[in-house]
Protein backbone atom coordinates (compact mmCIF):
# COMPACT_ATOMS: atom_id res chain seq x y z
CA UNK A 1 0.00 0.00 0.00
CA UNK A 2 1.26 3.42 -0.88
CA UNK A 3 1.85 5.97 1.78
CA UNK A 4 -0.86 8.21 0.40
CA UNK A 5 -3.49 5.49 0.66
CA UNK A 6 -2.42 4.69 4.17
CA UNK A 7 -2.74 8.33 5.08
CA UNK A 8 -6.16 8.56 3.39
CA UNK A 9 -7.41 5.65 5.48
CA UNK A 10 -6.23 7.42 8.60
CA UNK A 11 -7.99 10.64 7.61
CA UNK A 12 -11.18 8.73 6.84
CA UNK A 13 -11.28 7.12 10.28
CA UNK A 14 -10.26 10.32 11.98
CA UNK A 15 -13.28 12.05 10.45
CA UNK A 16 -15.51 9.22 11.69
CA UNK A 17 -14.01 9.44 15.16
CA UNK A 18 -14.42 13.19 15.43
CA UNK A 19 -17.94 12.86 14.05
CA UNK A 20 -18.81 10.27 16.70
CA UNK A 21 -17.45 12.45 19.46
CA UNK A 22 -19.49 15.36 18.14
CA UNK A 23 -22.63 13.19 18.12
CA UNK A 24 -22.08 12.32 21.77
CA UNK A 25 -21.33 15.87 22.89
CA UNK A 26 -24.15 17.12 20.68
CA UNK A 27 -26.71 14.76 22.18
CA UNK A 28 -25.89 16.04 25.65
CA UNK A 29 -26.31 19.63 24.47
CA UNK A 30 -29.53 18.73 22.69
CA UNK A 31 -31.00 17.08 25.79
CA UNK A 32 -30.02 19.93 28.10
CA UNK A 33 -31.17 22.50 25.56
CA UNK A 34 -34.57 20.86 25.06
CA UNK A 35 -35.17 20.58 28.79
CA UNK A 36 -34.23 24.23 29.36
CA UNK A 37 -36.25 25.57 26.41
CA UNK A 38 -39.35 23.52 27.26
CA UNK A 39 -39.01 23.65 31.02
CA UNK A 40 -38.19 27.24 31.83
CA UNK A 41 -41.37 28.88 30.48
CA UNK A 42 -43.50 26.66 32.73
CA UNK A 43 -41.33 27.25 35.76
CA UNK A 44 -42.71 29.52 38.48
CA UNK A 45 -42.36 30.08 42.17
CA UNK A 46 -45.51 28.11 43.04
CA UNK A 47 -43.94 25.00 41.49
CA UNK A 48 -41.22 24.87 44.12
CA UNK A 49 -43.05 26.35 47.12
CA UNK A 50 -46.43 24.58 47.09
CA UNK A 51 -47.71 21.05 47.30
CA UNK A 52 -50.33 19.89 44.77
CA UNK A 53 -53.75 21.36 45.50
CA UNK A 54 -57.02 19.64 44.58
CA UNK A 55 -57.21 19.07 40.83
CA UNK A 56 -53.49 19.77 40.35
CA UNK A 57 -53.19 16.94 37.85
CA UNK A 58 -56.07 18.44 35.88
CA UNK A 59 -54.25 21.75 35.55
CA UNK A 60 -55.31 23.50 38.75
CA UNK A 61 -53.04 25.26 41.23
CA UNK A 62 -50.16 23.92 43.21
CA UNK A 63 -46.59 22.79 42.88
CA UNK A 64 -44.29 19.85 43.37
CA UNK A 65 -42.78 20.76 46.73
CA UNK A 66 -43.92 17.34 47.97
CA UNK A 67 -41.73 15.64 45.37
CA UNK A 68 -38.75 17.95 45.87
CA UNK A 69 -38.75 17.43 49.64
CA UNK A 70 -39.59 13.74 49.24
CA UNK A 71 -36.67 13.22 46.88
CA UNK A 72 -34.23 15.08 49.11
CA UNK A 73 -35.35 13.13 52.18
CA UNK A 74 -35.28 9.83 50.37
CA UNK A 75 -31.94 10.33 48.64
CA UNK A 76 -30.47 11.89 51.78
CA UNK A 77 -31.50 8.96 53.97
CA UNK A 78 -30.42 6.42 51.40
CA UNK A 79 -27.04 8.09 50.93
CA UNK A 80 -26.43 8.13 54.69
CA UNK A 81 -27.30 4.44 54.92
CA UNK A 82 -25.14 3.63 51.90
CA UNK A 83 -22.24 5.55 53.46
CA UNK A 84 -22.55 3.55 56.70
CA UNK A 85 -22.27 0.39 54.59
CA UNK A 86 -19.67 1.47 52.04
CA UNK A 87 -17.08 3.18 54.22
CA UNK A 88 -16.37 0.13 56.42
CA UNK A 89 -16.30 -2.13 53.36
CA UNK A 90 -13.84 0.08 51.52
CA UNK A 91 -11.65 0.58 54.57
CA UNK A 92 -11.64 -3.13 55.28
CA UNK A 93 -10.56 -4.20 51.80
CA UNK A 94 -7.89 -1.50 51.67
CA UNK A 95 -6.54 -1.27 55.22
CA UNK A 96 -7.22 -4.60 56.91
CA UNK A 97 -7.16 -7.09 54.07
CA UNK A 98 -3.83 -7.98 52.53
CA UNK A 99 -3.11 -6.59 49.09
CA UNK A 100 -4.71 -8.84 46.47
CA UNK A 101 -6.46 -10.88 49.16
CA UNK A 102 -9.22 -13.11 47.84
CA UNK A 103 -11.86 -11.34 49.90
CA UNK A 104 -10.90 -7.94 48.46
CA UNK A 105 -10.92 -9.25 44.89
CA UNK A 106 -14.26 -10.97 45.42
CA UNK A 107 -15.81 -7.91 47.07
CA UNK A 108 -14.75 -5.62 44.24
CA UNK A 109 -16.11 -8.15 41.78
CA UNK A 110 -19.44 -8.35 43.62
CA UNK A 111 -19.69 -4.57 43.75
CA UNK A 112 -19.07 -4.35 40.01
CA UNK A 113 -21.75 -6.94 39.38
CA UNK A 114 -24.18 -5.12 41.69
CA UNK A 115 -23.41 -1.91 39.81
CA UNK A 116 -24.73 -3.55 36.66
CA UNK A 117 -28.04 -4.72 38.10
CA UNK A 118 -30.92 -2.59 36.79
CA UNK A 119 -32.75 -0.36 39.22
CA UNK A 120 -36.11 -2.03 38.52
CA UNK A 121 -34.64 -5.27 39.91
CA UNK A 122 -33.58 -3.39 43.05
CA UNK A 123 -37.17 -2.16 43.13
CA UNK A 124 -38.55 -5.69 42.94
CA UNK A 125 -36.10 -6.88 45.57
CA UNK A 126 -36.98 -3.94 47.81
CA UNK A 127 -40.63 -4.81 47.34
CA UNK A 128 -39.99 -8.38 48.49
CA UNK A 129 -37.99 -7.16 51.52
CA UNK A 130 -40.81 -4.76 52.31
CA UNK A 131 -43.40 -7.55 52.28
CA UNK A 132 -41.17 -9.75 54.40
CA UNK A 133 -40.83 -7.23 57.21
CA UNK A 134 -44.44 -6.13 56.89
CA UNK A 135 -43.77 -2.63 55.64
CA UNK A 136 -46.06 -0.72 53.25
CA UNK A 137 -44.83 1.52 50.45
CA UNK A 138 -43.11 4.21 52.45
CA UNK A 139 -40.20 6.57 52.77
CA UNK A 140 -38.33 3.93 54.77
CA UNK A 141 -38.83 1.18 52.19
CA UNK A 142 -37.63 3.62 49.52
CA UNK A 143 -34.59 4.60 51.57
CA UNK A 144 -33.55 0.97 52.08
CA UNK A 145 -33.99 0.12 48.39
CA UNK A 146 -32.17 3.19 47.10
CA UNK A 147 -29.38 2.65 49.66
CA UNK A 148 -28.77 -0.81 48.19
CA UNK A 149 -28.82 0.72 44.70
CA UNK A 150 -26.29 3.37 45.75
CA UNK A 151 -24.01 0.94 47.61
CA UNK A 152 -21.97 -0.30 44.63
CA UNK A 153 -21.74 3.18 43.08
CA UNK A 154 -20.49 4.78 46.28
CA UNK A 155 -18.24 1.94 47.37
CA UNK A 156 -16.50 1.66 44.00
CA UNK A 157 -16.02 5.41 43.69
CA UNK A 158 -14.54 5.48 47.19
CA UNK A 159 -12.39 2.46 46.53
CA UNK A 160 -10.83 4.23 43.55
CA UNK A 161 -9.44 6.97 45.80
CA UNK A 162 -8.70 4.95 48.93
CA UNK A 163 -6.70 2.54 46.80
CA UNK A 164 -4.37 5.34 45.81
CA UNK A 165 -3.22 6.05 49.38
CA UNK A 166 0.42 4.99 49.31
CA UNK A 167 1.20 1.99 51.50
CA UNK A 168 4.21 3.88 52.89
CA UNK A 169 1.77 6.27 54.53
CA UNK A 170 -0.05 3.39 56.23
CA UNK A 171 3.25 1.81 57.22
CA UNK A 172 4.39 5.08 58.76
CA UNK A 173 1.20 5.23 60.79
CA UNK A 174 1.61 1.62 61.91
CA UNK A 175 5.24 2.19 62.88
CA UNK A 176 4.12 4.94 65.21
CA UNK A 177 2.06 2.36 67.02
CA UNK A 178 -1.37 3.11 65.60
CA UNK A 179 -3.83 0.26 65.29
CA UNK A 180 -5.35 -0.39 61.88
CA UNK A 181 -8.57 1.24 62.97
CA UNK A 182 -6.70 4.40 63.94
CA UNK A 183 -4.77 4.30 60.68
CA UNK A 184 -8.03 3.87 58.79
CA UNK A 185 -9.77 6.86 60.29
CA UNK A 186 -6.94 9.24 61.16
CA UNK A 187 -4.76 8.69 58.11
CA UNK A 188 -6.70 7.07 55.27
CA UNK A 189 -10.06 8.78 55.71
CA UNK A 190 -8.47 12.15 56.36
CA UNK A 191 -6.21 11.79 53.35
CA UNK A 192 -9.14 10.80 51.11
CA UNK A 193 -11.84 13.05 52.52
CA UNK A 194 -12.51 15.09 49.38
CA UNK A 195 -12.58 11.86 47.35
CA UNK A 196 -15.01 10.30 49.81
CA UNK A 197 -17.25 13.35 49.56
CA UNK A 198 -17.14 13.07 45.78
CA UNK A 199 -18.24 9.43 46.02
CA UNK A 200 -21.06 10.39 48.36
CA UNK A 201 -22.24 13.13 46.00
CA UNK A 202 -22.14 10.83 42.98
CA UNK A 203 -24.25 8.29 44.85
CA UNK A 204 -26.65 11.00 46.03
CA UNK A 205 -27.10 12.17 42.44
CA UNK A 206 -27.85 8.64 41.32
CA UNK A 207 -30.28 8.15 44.17
CA UNK A 208 -32.21 11.34 43.56
CA UNK A 209 -32.60 10.61 39.86
CA UNK A 210 -33.72 7.03 40.06
CA UNK A 211 -37.34 6.27 39.33
CA UNK A 212 -37.74 2.55 38.79
CA UNK A 213 -36.60 1.50 42.25
CA UNK A 214 -38.78 3.99 44.16
CA UNK A 215 -41.80 3.30 41.97
CA UNK A 216 -42.29 -0.06 43.70
CA UNK A 217 -41.20 0.90 47.18
CA UNK A 218 -41.72 4.55 48.13
CA UNK A 219 -45.18 4.99 46.67
CA UNK A 220 -46.45 8.49 45.94
CA UNK A 221 -48.22 11.11 47.97
CA UNK A 222 -49.35 14.68 47.50
CA UNK A 223 -48.26 15.48 51.02
CA UNK A 224 -44.77 16.00 52.32
CA UNK A 225 -43.86 12.83 54.22
CA UNK A 226 -43.89 13.48 57.96
CA UNK A 227 -42.68 10.06 59.07
CA UNK A 228 -40.58 7.20 57.76
CA UNK A 229 -43.65 5.00 57.47
CA UNK A 230 -45.55 7.37 55.16
CA UNK A 231 -45.35 7.14 51.40
CA UNK A 232 -43.14 9.74 49.75
CA UNK A 233 -43.34 11.46 46.39
CA UNK A 234 -40.16 11.73 44.35
CA UNK A 235 -39.17 14.10 41.56
CA UNK A 236 -38.65 11.51 38.81
CA UNK A 237 -42.07 10.01 39.47
CA UNK A 238 -43.65 13.47 39.63
CA UNK A 239 -42.25 14.09 36.16
CA UNK A 240 -43.48 10.73 34.95
CA UNK A 241 -47.02 11.12 36.30
CA UNK A 242 -47.44 14.70 35.10
CA UNK A 243 -46.25 13.76 31.63
CA UNK A 244 -48.75 10.91 31.62
CA UNK A 245 -51.76 13.21 31.96
CA UNK A 246 -53.58 14.31 28.80
CA UNK A 247 -53.49 18.03 29.73
CA UNK A 248 -50.88 20.24 28.06
CA UNK A 249 -50.65 22.55 31.11
CA UNK A 250 -49.78 19.59 33.33
CA UNK A 251 -47.35 18.22 30.76
CA UNK A 252 -45.65 21.62 30.69
CA UNK A 253 -45.21 21.24 34.44
CA UNK A 254 -43.55 17.89 33.80
CA UNK A 255 -41.01 19.71 31.60
CA UNK A 256 -40.49 22.30 34.33
CA UNK A 257 -40.02 19.52 36.90
CA UNK A 258 -37.51 17.87 34.58
CA UNK A 259 -35.64 21.18 34.41
CA UNK A 260 -35.57 21.34 38.22
CA UNK A 261 -34.25 17.78 38.46
CA UNK A 262 -31.64 18.40 35.75
CA UNK A 263 -30.52 21.54 37.51
CA UNK A 264 -30.16 19.63 40.79
CA UNK A 265 -28.11 16.92 39.09
CA UNK A 266 -25.95 19.52 37.38
CA UNK A 267 -25.28 21.28 40.69
CA UNK A 268 -24.38 17.99 42.39
CA UNK A 269 -22.09 17.03 39.56
CA UNK A 270 -20.29 20.40 39.57
CA UNK A 271 -19.87 20.17 43.33
CA UNK A 272 -18.42 16.67 43.12
CA UNK A 273 -16.06 17.78 40.36
CA UNK A 274 -14.87 20.61 42.57
CA UNK A 275 -14.17 18.20 45.42
CA UNK A 276 -12.37 15.73 43.23
CA UNK A 277 -10.14 18.49 41.87
CA UNK A 278 -9.37 19.44 45.44
CA UNK A 279 -8.50 15.83 46.12
CA UNK A 280 -5.97 15.74 43.31
CA UNK A 281 -4.22 18.75 44.78
CA UNK A 282 -3.96 17.22 48.26
CA UNK A 283 -2.75 13.79 47.31
CA UNK A 284 0.66 12.71 48.48
CA UNK A 285 2.22 10.68 45.73
Amino acid sequence: MGYRRRKAEETFFKVLMIGSTLIIAGSLLLIMGTIVVKGFPALNLAMITQTPKGGYYLGKEGGILNAIVGSLELAGGATLLALLLSLPIVLYINVYARRKSRLAVFTRFSLDVLWGIPSIVYGAFGFILMMMIGLRTSLLAGIITVALLELPIMARAMDEVVRLVPSSLRDASASLGATRLETAFHVVVRQCLPGIITAVLIAFGRGIGDAASVLLTAGYSDRIPGALTQPAATLPLAIFFQLGTPYPEVQARAYASAAILTFLILAISLLSRWFSRKFQKNTIK
Binding site: F13, T21, Y92, G116, I120, L151, E182
Partner: protein
Protein backbone atom coordinates in the same frame (compact mmCIF):
# COMPACT_ATOMS: atom_id res chain seq x y z
CA UNK B 1 -3.61 0.21 75.25
CA UNK B 2 -5.87 -2.79 75.77
CA UNK B 3 -8.86 -0.59 75.05
CA UNK B 4 -7.44 0.45 71.69
CA UNK B 5 -6.70 -3.16 70.77
CA UNK B 6 -10.22 -4.22 71.69
CA UNK B 7 -11.69 -1.39 69.64
CA UNK B 8 -9.59 -2.46 66.70
CA UNK B 9 -10.63 -6.08 67.09
CA UNK B 10 -14.33 -5.22 67.32
CA UNK B 11 -14.11 -2.92 64.31
CA UNK B 12 -12.38 -5.65 62.37
CA UNK B 13 -15.15 -8.16 63.15
CA UNK B 14 -17.87 -5.69 62.24
CA UNK B 15 -16.16 -4.71 59.03
CA UNK B 16 -15.71 -8.29 57.87
CA UNK B 17 -19.43 -8.84 58.28
CA UNK B 18 -20.24 -5.73 56.24
CA UNK B 19 -17.68 -6.67 53.60
CA UNK B 20 -19.62 -9.85 53.02
CA UNK B 21 -22.76 -7.84 52.20
CA UNK B 22 -22.15 -7.17 48.47
CA UNK B 23 -21.51 -10.82 47.68
CA UNK B 24 -24.46 -12.01 49.72
CA UNK B 25 -26.75 -9.35 48.27
CA UNK B 26 -26.50 -10.78 44.74
CA UNK B 27 -27.35 -14.19 46.12
CA UNK B 28 -30.25 -12.85 48.20
CA UNK B 29 -31.74 -11.09 45.20
CA UNK B 30 -31.71 -14.31 43.21
CA UNK B 31 -33.22 -16.30 46.05
CA UNK B 32 -35.84 -13.67 46.89
CA UNK B 33 -37.06 -13.38 43.32
CA UNK B 34 -37.00 -17.13 42.84
CA UNK B 35 -38.99 -17.64 46.02
CA UNK B 36 -41.60 -15.12 44.92
CA UNK B 37 -41.98 -16.58 41.45
CA UNK B 38 -42.36 -20.15 42.72
CA UNK B 39 -46.15 -19.87 42.69
CA UNK B 40 -46.15 -19.69 38.90
CA UNK B 41 -43.18 -21.97 38.31
CA UNK B 42 -44.97 -24.88 39.99
CA UNK B 43 -47.79 -24.59 37.45
CA UNK B 44 -45.87 -23.85 34.28
CA UNK B 45 -42.35 -24.76 33.30
CA UNK B 46 -39.71 -22.08 32.92
CA UNK B 47 -39.32 -22.72 29.19
CA UNK B 48 -43.07 -22.62 28.59
CA UNK B 49 -43.33 -19.19 30.23
CA UNK B 50 -40.33 -17.82 28.34
CA UNK B 51 -41.44 -18.91 24.88
CA UNK B 52 -45.22 -18.60 25.16
CA UNK B 53 -46.42 -15.42 23.52
CA UNK B 54 -49.93 -15.04 24.92
CA UNK B 55 -50.16 -12.60 27.79
CA UNK B 56 -53.65 -12.59 29.32
CA UNK B 57 -53.31 -12.36 33.10
CA UNK B 58 -57.09 -12.61 33.64
CA UNK B 59 -57.19 -15.92 31.78
CA UNK B 60 -54.13 -17.12 33.64
CA UNK B 61 -51.86 -16.95 30.60
CA UNK B 62 -48.49 -15.46 31.38
CA UNK B 63 -46.30 -15.88 28.30
CA UNK B 64 -43.30 -13.59 28.59
CA UNK B 65 -42.14 -13.94 24.99
CA UNK B 66 -43.57 -10.62 23.69
CA UNK B 67 -41.77 -8.73 26.44
CA UNK B 68 -38.52 -10.61 26.06
CA UNK B 69 -38.57 -10.02 22.32
CA UNK B 70 -39.50 -6.38 22.90
CA UNK B 71 -36.51 -5.86 25.17
CA UNK B 72 -34.29 -7.82 22.87
CA UNK B 73 -35.14 -5.80 19.75
CA UNK B 74 -34.94 -2.42 21.44
CA UNK B 75 -31.61 -3.33 23.02
CA UNK B 76 -30.19 -4.78 19.83
CA UNK B 77 -31.17 -1.71 17.80
CA UNK B 78 -29.70 0.54 20.48
CA UNK B 79 -26.43 -1.37 20.41
CA UNK B 80 -26.21 -1.16 16.62
CA UNK B 81 -26.36 2.61 17.00
CA UNK B 82 -24.25 2.93 20.13
CA UNK B 83 -21.34 0.52 19.62
CA UNK B 84 -19.63 2.08 16.57
CA UNK B 85 -20.18 5.63 17.79
CA UNK B 86 -18.90 5.02 21.32
CA UNK B 87 -15.92 2.91 20.28
CA UNK B 88 -14.83 5.40 17.62
CA UNK B 89 -15.17 8.20 20.11
CA UNK B 90 -13.26 6.26 22.76
CA UNK B 91 -10.41 5.65 20.31
CA UNK B 92 -10.36 9.33 19.46
CA UNK B 93 -10.33 10.40 23.11
CA UNK B 94 -7.66 7.88 24.03
CA UNK B 95 -5.30 8.17 21.06
CA UNK B 96 -5.89 11.34 19.08
CA UNK B 97 -7.70 14.05 21.00
CA UNK B 98 -5.64 16.98 22.26
CA UNK B 99 -5.68 17.36 26.01
CA UNK B 100 -7.99 20.37 25.87
CA UNK B 101 -10.70 18.50 23.98
CA UNK B 102 -10.39 15.53 26.29
CA UNK B 103 -10.89 17.80 29.25
CA UNK B 104 -14.14 19.08 27.76
CA UNK B 105 -15.55 15.81 26.46
CA UNK B 106 -14.83 13.62 29.49
CA UNK B 107 -16.92 15.71 31.94
CA UNK B 108 -19.65 15.86 29.30
CA UNK B 109 -19.70 12.07 29.14
CA UNK B 110 -19.78 11.92 32.96
CA UNK B 111 -22.70 14.30 33.00
CA UNK B 112 -24.51 12.21 30.39
CA UNK B 113 -23.99 9.18 32.63
CA UNK B 114 -25.42 11.07 35.59
CA UNK B 115 -28.59 12.35 33.96
CA UNK B 116 -31.68 10.61 35.37
CA UNK B 117 -33.39 8.20 33.03
CA UNK B 118 -36.67 10.07 33.36
CA UNK B 119 -34.98 13.14 31.85
CA UNK B 120 -33.92 11.02 28.87
CA UNK B 121 -37.52 9.87 28.68
CA UNK B 122 -38.93 13.40 28.65
CA UNK B 123 -36.44 14.39 25.97
CA UNK B 124 -37.36 11.30 23.95
CA UNK B 125 -41.05 12.18 24.10
CA UNK B 126 -40.36 15.78 23.11
CA UNK B 127 -37.87 15.19 20.33
CA UNK B 128 -37.33 11.60 19.21
CA UNK B 129 -40.92 10.36 19.17
CA UNK B 130 -42.17 13.13 16.82
CA UNK B 131 -39.05 12.66 14.71
CA UNK B 132 -39.69 8.94 14.26
CA UNK B 133 -43.35 9.61 13.43
CA UNK B 134 -42.15 12.01 10.75
CA UNK B 135 -39.57 9.77 9.12
CA UNK B 136 -41.61 6.53 9.17
CA UNK B 137 -43.65 7.49 6.06
CA UNK B 138 -40.38 7.90 4.15
CA UNK B 139 -39.99 4.14 4.57
CA UNK B 140 -43.60 3.53 3.61
CA UNK B 141 -44.74 2.82 7.16
CA UNK B 142 -47.07 4.48 9.59
CA UNK B 143 -45.77 5.05 13.09
CA UNK B 144 -47.11 6.88 16.11
CA UNK B 145 -43.50 7.56 16.94
CA UNK B 146 -43.70 5.50 20.13
CA UNK B 147 -41.58 2.73 18.71
CA UNK B 148 -38.61 0.41 18.90
CA UNK B 149 -36.57 3.00 17.01
CA UNK B 150 -37.39 5.79 19.45
CA UNK B 151 -36.46 3.53 22.37
CA UNK B 152 -33.26 2.51 20.61
CA UNK B 153 -32.12 6.09 19.97
CA UNK B 154 -32.74 7.15 23.57
CA UNK B 155 -31.08 3.99 24.91
CA UNK B 156 -28.09 4.37 22.61
CA UNK B 157 -27.35 7.78 24.10
CA UNK B 158 -27.74 6.33 27.58
CA UNK B 159 -25.16 3.59 26.99
CA UNK B 160 -22.53 5.83 25.35
CA UNK B 161 -20.93 6.63 28.73
CA UNK B 162 -20.76 2.97 29.84
CA UNK B 163 -19.00 1.80 26.69
CA UNK B 164 -16.72 4.86 26.54
CA UNK B 165 -15.65 4.63 30.19
CA UNK B 166 -14.77 0.95 30.08
CA UNK B 167 -13.03 1.04 26.71
CA UNK B 168 -11.03 4.15 27.65
CA UNK B 169 -9.67 2.20 30.59
CA UNK B 170 -8.91 -0.74 28.34
CA UNK B 171 -7.03 1.42 25.79
CA UNK B 172 -5.22 3.20 28.61
CA UNK B 173 -3.83 -0.09 29.88
CA UNK B 174 -2.11 -0.89 26.56
CA UNK B 175 1.58 -0.18 27.26
CA UNK B 176 3.05 2.87 25.57
CA UNK B 177 6.17 0.97 24.61
CA UNK B 178 4.10 -1.17 22.24
CA UNK B 179 2.74 1.90 20.47
CA UNK B 180 6.21 3.36 20.18
CA UNK B 181 7.59 0.12 18.78
CA UNK B 182 4.92 0.13 16.10
CA UNK B 183 5.47 3.79 15.22
CA UNK B 184 9.23 3.31 15.03
CA UNK B 185 8.71 0.56 12.46
CA UNK B 186 7.11 3.16 10.22
CA UNK B 187 3.44 2.47 10.90
CA UNK B 188 1.12 5.44 10.75
CA UNK B 189 -0.76 6.38 13.87
CA UNK B 190 -3.95 4.73 12.60
CA UNK B 191 -2.06 1.54 11.74
CA UNK B 192 -0.67 1.53 15.24
CA UNK B 193 -4.15 1.94 16.63
CA UNK B 194 -5.56 -0.76 14.38
CA UNK B 195 -2.83 -3.37 14.79
CA UNK B 196 -1.62 -2.68 18.32
CA UNK B 197 -4.17 -0.86 20.47
CA UNK B 198 -7.32 -2.46 19.08
CA UNK B 199 -5.81 -5.91 18.91
CA UNK B 200 -4.49 -5.73 22.47
CA UNK B 201 -7.77 -4.26 23.67
CA UNK B 202 -10.12 -6.53 21.75
CA UNK B 203 -11.29 -8.57 24.72
CA UNK B 204 -11.75 -5.45 26.81
CA UNK B 205 -13.74 -3.80 24.04
CA UNK B 206 -16.04 -6.81 23.89
CA UNK B 207 -16.47 -6.55 27.64
CA UNK B 208 -17.39 -2.87 27.34
CA UNK B 209 -20.00 -3.76 24.74
CA UNK B 210 -21.39 -6.52 26.98
CA UNK B 211 -21.66 -4.07 29.87
CA UNK B 212 -23.40 -1.56 27.61
CA UNK B 213 -25.77 -4.27 26.44
CA UNK B 214 -26.74 -5.25 29.96
CA UNK B 215 -27.16 -1.61 30.95
CA UNK B 216 -29.54 -1.13 28.02
CA UNK B 217 -31.33 -4.40 28.68
CA UNK B 218 -32.41 -3.38 32.16
CA UNK B 219 -33.14 0.30 31.57
CA UNK B 220 -36.73 0.94 32.54
CA UNK B 221 -38.17 4.44 32.74
CA UNK B 222 -36.66 6.11 29.70
CA UNK B 223 -37.56 3.23 27.40
CA UNK B 224 -40.99 2.77 28.93
CA UNK B 225 -41.83 6.38 28.10
CA UNK B 226 -41.04 6.15 24.38
CA UNK B 227 -41.67 2.59 23.13
CA UNK B 228 -45.48 2.51 23.24
CA UNK B 229 -45.93 -0.57 25.45
CA UNK B 230 -48.07 -2.83 23.24
CA UNK B 231 -47.59 -6.49 24.20
CA UNK B 232 -46.92 -7.85 20.73
CA UNK B 233 -43.67 -8.91 19.14
CA UNK B 234 -42.64 -5.92 16.96
CA UNK B 235 -42.29 -6.54 13.23
CA UNK B 236 -40.33 -3.44 12.32
CA UNK B 237 -38.41 -0.72 14.12
CA UNK B 238 -41.39 1.59 13.61
CA UNK B 239 -43.69 -0.70 15.62
CA UNK B 240 -44.33 -0.36 19.31
CA UNK B 241 -42.78 -2.82 21.72
CA UNK B 242 -43.28 -3.72 25.36
CA UNK B 243 -39.97 -4.31 27.12
CA UNK B 244 -39.66 -6.64 30.10
CA UNK B 245 -38.69 -3.94 32.66
CA UNK B 246 -41.69 -1.84 31.57
CA UNK B 247 -43.99 -4.78 32.27
CA UNK B 248 -43.01 -4.75 35.91
CA UNK B 249 -43.06 -0.95 36.23
CA UNK B 250 -46.51 -0.61 34.67
CA UNK B 251 -48.32 -3.42 36.45
CA UNK B 252 -46.90 -3.78 39.95
CA UNK B 253 -49.99 -1.93 41.22
CA UNK B 254 -52.50 -4.64 40.39
CA UNK B 255 -50.22 -7.63 40.78
CA UNK B 256 -51.63 -8.59 44.15
CA UNK B 257 -55.24 -8.61 42.94
CA UNK B 258 -55.00 -11.26 40.19
CA UNK B 259 -53.90 -14.80 41.08
CA UNK B 260 -50.38 -15.72 39.91
CA UNK B 261 -49.86 -12.21 38.55
CA UNK B 262 -47.29 -11.37 41.23
CA UNK B 263 -45.47 -14.63 40.50
CA UNK B 264 -45.32 -13.79 36.80
CA UNK B 265 -44.02 -10.26 37.42
CA UNK B 266 -41.41 -11.44 39.90
CA UNK B 267 -40.40 -14.08 37.37
CA UNK B 268 -39.91 -11.30 34.83
CA UNK B 269 -37.59 -9.54 37.28
CA UNK B 270 -35.75 -12.81 37.86
CA UNK B 271 -35.27 -13.36 34.12
CA UNK B 272 -34.00 -9.80 33.80
CA UNK B 273 -31.58 -10.30 36.68
CA UNK B 274 -30.30 -13.61 35.30
CA UNK B 275 -29.60 -12.21 31.83
CA UNK B 276 -27.91 -9.10 33.20
CA UNK B 277 -25.86 -11.19 35.66
CA UNK B 278 -24.55 -13.45 32.92
CA UNK B 279 -23.43 -10.50 30.80
CA UNK B 280 -21.91 -8.70 33.77
CA UNK B 281 -20.05 -11.65 35.21
CA UNK B 282 -18.57 -12.59 31.84
CA UNK B 283 -17.56 -8.99 31.09
CA UNK B 284 -15.98 -8.48 34.51
CA UNK B 285 -14.00 -11.71 34.26
CA UNK B 286 -12.69 -10.65 30.85
CA UNK B 287 -11.68 -7.27 32.27
CA UNK B 288 -9.95 -8.75 35.32
CA UNK B 289 -8.02 -11.16 33.10
CA UNK B 290 -7.03 -8.35 30.73
CA UNK B 291 -5.88 -6.24 33.67
CA UNK B 292 -3.74 -9.08 35.03
CA UNK B 293 -2.16 -9.60 31.65
CA UNK B 294 -1.30 -5.92 31.39
CA UNK B 295 0.51 -5.90 34.75
Amino acid sequence: MAKRRIKDLLARRGMVVLTAVPGILVFLMLMGLLGRSKSILTLHSFGELLFDSSWHPLRGEFGLAPFLMGTFWVTLAAMILAVPISLLSAIYLSEYAPRRIREIVKPAVDLLAGLPSVVFGVWGVLMIVPLVAKIAPLFGKYSSGYSVLAGAIVLAIMVFPTIIHVSLEVFGSVPHALREASLSLGATKWETVKHVVLRKGLAGMLASVALGFSRAFGETMAVLMVVGNIPEIPKSVFDSAYPLPALLANNYGEMMSIPLYDGALMLSALVLLLIVLIFNVVARIILIKAERKAE
